[in-house]
Structures are given as structure tokens and as C-alpha cells.
Subunit: 418 residues, 2 copies
């Protein structure tokens, strides 16, 4: 719906942090401040959690001064979610009119005259946007709900890629290049197994292949969860790599599984699940480390890239940070134009040297609760590496170094206080 | 001994790689090329291993062209040991005259007219320099042996700090700052335990405290192997941190141990030892993760910073890279001046804004097989954090960003081929 009256807006962040989620927030703030249709842009602390406890800050005020651009640039260079995050799953929409949470939320929106809702998050966050859009008419309060994607996992459908993925991919490619130098120095046989984030999809693990772009030296093998894992084939691959050089490097996704669906790291994990029912994974590389040690008796090391992957602002991709900002601004334009129940997507308009993108909104039902896997033609026939087509897809996303601020040799971040 | 005739020199790298060890190599190359007393500088592949198999490259030739400076700068920005490394421990010196290895080495030195020997490495590498110096006179071939320190561990005696430490400390401080942003986003109680390299000493773990320099937000507690670890005191610390905020972050050294000397991660480790008899450590953070989970029942996560710590050239400290180069050049001057059986040291000539260093050579017996621990006044009374004095010591070492080359958004390194 297009609102003729000036109204307020709210923005929240949700799900796991990335190095680019604050650039998207900066994009939303920038466009909201530039618009004469938005009065105040509120920032919800901890996403929907903050809206439920009416814990918001006035972003129009914080960023309204003459140092706006400098502040926005500093916010863009700050990793993780500056507003805080949450992992709230809203209840089913059937009985929303009698549900305490929905009642609280819409009373709050009405009271604050909020007509525009921006939610920056991953797959589960789009579920929140979809539900709020669906129940809106039950509360006699019109609002436009727009989801803004972010996830290092790159597993959202429709969008060419997700904001946050490029920076994480750049960190992975960079430290993989460095680790390949590190592991190459000895002459004794050794296997290094690098575990990379990715519960369902191998997008991030695939990025380890980018380390070979300049030197021709990448991981010997790359295993993604899109391909069933088999120990005997894996051992043959390791043997084959040893026939070429003593230092074998292998990249694996945390979500690697056998043909029967059992996780490779299953013996290693606690079995605990998060609120969305996802299993906490642990120890895929550790399981492979033990298997290689038993089979080959050589030196084996497992490296889990872990948290630094998703918050390494110091090596963020300029392309990613720019697009993350762009998609945030585009979300505001979209909402002002009357779009709702939608998610912003990135459309690739050219590749290679002609790489360019545009932003468009799509119906959220096309995106929510779906997973975009690494396609077949991005994975080689043997299922142990990626193809050139995959490299061509990833490479534009890691271009350029985003601005990064330091003082005393240490990063300086923008902390949003009340 | 001062040699009046022009002669050749050899340089090798040994021990674990760092982000700065190639800057020291660049410093050796630069000074050797500038000297009219050195004819050819050879680079030994894989340290002493390469000398034993006569596997050397001609560095004077490789770096002798007009693009010398550019190549040296690129070498300085390349992580790990460009010449390859080794972990060879030379046999005792008592019967060196009849020992095959020593005979081979000195025959090789004579044949190649090598009078200057530079060995870039850590504690164990200084043992090699010391032994070769000690047996030199038995082979009727005068040579000057100079050790050039490098170790991320900063645990060499006499020198104010070791080349390689500053870059590793900068990486740790940087990713710790980023992880503190990352872990702060949720409102549910959670503990994040970050394991940092350091078998015997806590120098690297102490660097995690630098993350607080700008924001005041650092790890809640920092435990070093210089202090005996005690679970009950640790649990009290965690409780105390929870009384202030829900997201607790703790930094621990891999070598953390109890009062009786048992390692905290002992139950987790394989018990395997390297050629120097050091135990391979594994799972200190993992052990603490399980303990916290059992005691507090909250979300706990362990993060091992692992390999990227020691090879993260993309965030190397400019101060460290400059000093690493400087100490390499100073080693050549020292050897030309007749020094032998010595190691180059960094002397701090001023602190804070007046930070400055000089290089000097010291008798290697003062350094070899000794360990420099974090001193008492760098650790607080409770043994769970570092003091301001420690911060003052570390801060100058992480200043500035070293040049870092990329192509296609990915690091570009200098690979030394024959």
C-alpha cells in the first residue's frame, strides 16, 4: 500500500551476524533519512525481541547530524548486528488475532505510527516478515513489510547471491591462500582438513577454491554437502593427492553427510538443536582428521574457521559492502512504493569485467523456507571439487577491499548506544 | 671472524611459519646484495634439510635484477617460509667430526665457499646455529653463524620481542574485536571460549586484551599458562561475568595447565610428541566448553584460532614487518663484522609515542633452549587477566598495516621457484 501521509518506520536485524549486515542497516538509514515520507526511523534492539519489549532507538536522531555520511561509513565497517539480533520464531498465523505476541507487536506499531517494517536477516527472518504480512489485516493497521536478505550462507532462493556472502567468501579465500603457503613448508607427509561453515549448502566451502585464482594452488579437494560423502572415495582422493605432493589440503563443509543422510561429524556432536530445529554441528573436520590418521598414519591437522568467518570486517569485500548498502536503500524505496510481503533480491546484470547488479523485490513466498543449493554444474563430476563456472560466479563477489577503520592499530567500530 | 676475501653466504628458514619470516629473509637478501663482501647468497630449501641434500637456489640471481625492491616488498608480504622449513634437530656435538650430517654440511659449505650462515627460526633453530658454531673448528673451515629470531610465540630470551609476534598479535586482537561484536548480539546467556596458540607462554593470548583498547570491551577473562588453572576459580569468574552481561567471552592459551602440571586439554589430546619432545596440544577450549556446559547448562562455543594466527599476512603489523626486515639486514652486517655463534636481538629504545628499536647481536648461549615467560607484573593478581603494563608493552608492536598485494580480490604472493 502507498501511504500518502508521512509515517514512521522500524528496522531490525535477526539471525546470525555477518560482516555486511550493518552496511545494509546503513543503506536503510540513508534512504529513510533522505525520504520525505518517513518521519522517524526506529531501530529495534534484538529484532522482534526488542519490538516485543518496546526497546527501540531513534536512528533518525543518531544519524541526523552533519556527520551522517562518516557515521554511515563507520557503521558499514562494523561487523555483526549493531542493533543486536535474535532467533525468535513467531507462532503460526492461524490464530494471530488472539495471540499475545502479535497483539503486542501491532499495538506497538499503531502506537508508534509505524507503517514501514524492514527486517534484515536470513531464511528464518523472512519467515517473520511473511507471517507479519499475513496477519496485518487482522489488526486494522496497514503496514508494508519488506525483508532484506543477509546471510553468509548464500542459500536464499531467487536472489543471485546474498549480502554477506562475498565478505565471508573473501575471508575464506584469503586465509586459505595463506594456509596453503603455511602447510607447504615441510617435506613430511601431512594432511590439513579445513572445516568451513555451511549446514545445508556448500557455497562457503566452494569459496576456498578462489585461493587458486592467482597461483594455481588451491585445496586438493573440496567436499560440499550437495554431494554424498564416502570414506573410501575420500581415502582414494587423499592417496592421489599424496602421489603429487606431501602436503595435502582439503576443504569440507560442516554439513557434510553420507548417502543415508547421517552427518560425517555426527559421532562428534551433542545432538542439541536450535529453536528452528537445526542441529548444532561440530567436528566434521575432527572426524575426518581421526579417519585419515588411522588410515594413513601421517600427520593430520583439522582447522575449523569458525566465528571469524562471519565477522571479519577487516577483510570485507568492497563489492559486498556496496551491494549490502544498496539492497538496504532499495528496500526503503520499495516499501515507499507500496511493496509489502516481499524480499529484496540482487539480480546479476552482467558477469566478469561487466559485472553489475540491480535490486528488485520479489514475493516473499518465493523465498521463505526454501534453500538454494550449489547447482550441479558448479560441482565436478567426481564430486570432489568445484568447476570453472562456479569460480566465475563467485569471483566478482570478492572484489575490492572495503574501508576499515583503526585506531592504535586495532579496529575501531561504531557502537550504537541509546 | 672477519673475512678479507669475498665469499658466499647461505640463508635458511626453520620451525613454524609466521607472517613475518619472509620479511626477515628479504632483509637478509637486501643487505647481502648491497654488500661487496658477499658474492652469492644461496637460499637453502627446507633449512638444514636442503643443505644436507644440496638443494639450494641462487637468491642473488633471483633478486639481482632492477625489480629487486618490488620483489623484496612482495616477498615481505608473503606469509610462511618462502624457502620451505624443517624441524631437523642436529645430533649432539661431542662426536661431530665423525657424524655423517655434520661432515656432509661442512663439505657442502667448503665446496660452495660459504663463509656466512644465516638461520631464521625460533628456539629450536637457535639450537642448530649454536651446534654448528660449536663444531665449526673441527672441520677446518671458518664460518660465521648468525641466528635471526622469528616466532609468533615471543618466547625467546634477551630480545625485547620476536619478529612475527606483532603480526600474530594484531590478527588476534583484530578477530577478537570482531568476535566480541559477533557474540554480543543475542540476549540469551552464552559463553565463547577462544583458544589461542602458546604452548608454554601466554604472550599471544595476552594480545587478545588489545581488543579493548578503543572500545573498552575485551574478553571478560584471559588465562595464560604462566598461572595455574583452577576450575572452581574459573567457574566463579564465569558467574561473575554473567552478573554483568549475558555474553561472556574468555581467551585461553592452548598450554593452560593445572597446578600439578597436567594440561587442561589433556583428556582431549593424542599424547603424540614432535621431534623436540613437545606434546601436540589439542582441545583446551573444547575441554572448557564441556565443563562450562555441564556447570552452567548454557550455550557454550569454543573457537580455536588455529593456523590463520600465524600466517595472516593480510593483517600483518607494519611495525613487525619493518622490524623483521631490519633484523635480517642487521644479521648480515653483524656476520660481516665478524660475529658468530650469536643471535640478533631487538632492543626497545623508547616506548609509547617514542617507541623505537635497535638491533644487536648476543651470544646464542644466552638464548638457545631458554623460554621467556610473561612476567608477573604483566598478569593481574587474580591471574585471570593482563595488566596495563602488558598492554603498554604490546601496543607498539601491532601498529600500522603492512603492504598487502591482491589480484582478482585474492592475495598475490611471491613464490620462489628454482
Amino acid at each position: 500500500m502507498i501511504f500518502s501521509e508521512k509515517a514512521n518506520a522500524i528496522v531490525g536485524q535477526s539471525g546470525g551476524p555477518t560482516a555486511a549486515i550493518n552496511a545494509t542497516l546503513a543503506g536503510v538509514i540513508s534512504a529513510a533519512l533522505d525520504s520525505d515520507k518517513i518521519d522517524v526511523l526506529y531501530g529495534a534492539r534484538n529484532g522482534v525481541e526488542g519490538m516485543l519489549r518496546e526497546d527501540v532507538i531513534d536512528l533518525s536522531d543518531i544519524f541526523g547530524a552533519s556527520d551522517k555520511n562518516e557515521k554511515l561509513e563507520r557503521l558499514s565497517a562494523t561487523p555483526s548486528a549493531a542493533l543486536g539480533s535474535c532467533r525468535v520464531k513467531l507462532p503460526p498465523v492461524d490464530d494471530a488475532a488472539n495471540n499475545e505476541k502479535y497483539i503486542k507487536l501491532f499495538n506497538f506499531f499503531k502506537k508508534m505510527n509505524i507503517r514501514y517494517f524492514f527486517y534484515i536477516g536470513g531464511n528464518d527472518s523472512m519467515d517473520t516478515v511473511s507471517k507479519l504480512s499475513a496477519v496485518c489485516d487482522k489488526f486494522d493497521w496497514d503496514m508494508n513489510f519488506v525483508g532484506v536478505p543477509k546471510t553468509i550462507d548464500n542459500d536464499l532462493d531467487v536472489t543471485d547471491h546474498t549480502p554477506g556472502y562475498g565478505s565471508c567468501a573473501k575471508f575464506i579465500a584469503t586465509v586459505m591462500s595463506e594456509m596453503l603457503c603455511d602447510t607447504a613448508v615441510y617435506t613430511v607427509k601431512a594432511v590439513t582438513i579445513v572445516e568451513i561453515m555451511g549446514r545445508d549448502t556448500g557455497w562457503l566451502t566452494a569459496a576456498s577454491a578462489l585461493s587458486a585464482v592467482n597461483t594455481g594452488i588451491g585445496p586438493d579437494y573440496i567436499y560440499l554437502p550437495e554431494t554424498d560423502f564416502d570414506y573410501e572415495r575420500f581415502f582414494k582422493d587423499v592417496e592421489n593427492a599424496f602421489s603429487k605432493h606431501p602436503n595435502v589440503v582439503i576443504a569440507v563443509s560442516e554439513g557434510l553427510h553420507f548417502a543415508d543422510g547421517r552427518l560425517v561429524g555426527e559421532g562428534m556432536q551433542s545432538g542439541a538443536t536450535d529453536v528452528f530445529g537445526h542441529k548444532y554441528l561440530d567436528g566434521t573436520a575432527k572426524a575426518l582428521e581421526l579417519a585419515v590418521k588411522e588410515r594413513f598414519g601421517c600427520k593430520v591437522r583439522s582447522v575449523e574457521l569458525n566465528l571469524p568467518q562471519r565477522c571479519a570486517s577487516h577483510i570485507a569485500s568492497l563489492t559486498d559492502i556496496k551491494e549490502s548498502f544498496g539492497v538496504g536503500s532499495a528496500a526503503v524505496e520499495s516499501a515507499l512504493n507500496g511493496d509489502s510481503d516481499c524480499m529484496m533480491c540482487i539480480k546479476r546484470e552482467g558477469n566478469g569485467e561487466k559485472y553489475a547488479v540491480s535490486y528488485k523485490s520479489v514475493a516473499i513466498e518465493l523465498v521463505a523456507n526454501r534453500i538454494k543449493y550449489v547447482p550441479d554444474d558448479f560441482i565436478n563430476e567426481e564430486g570432489n571439487n568445484v568447476t570453472d563456472k562456479c569460480i566465475e560466479y563467485m569471483l566478482p563477489l570478492v572484489q575490492g577491499c572495503a574501508p576499515y577503520f583503526t585506531q592504535n592499530g586495532i579496529p575501531e567500530f561504531l557502537i550504537l548506544s541509546k
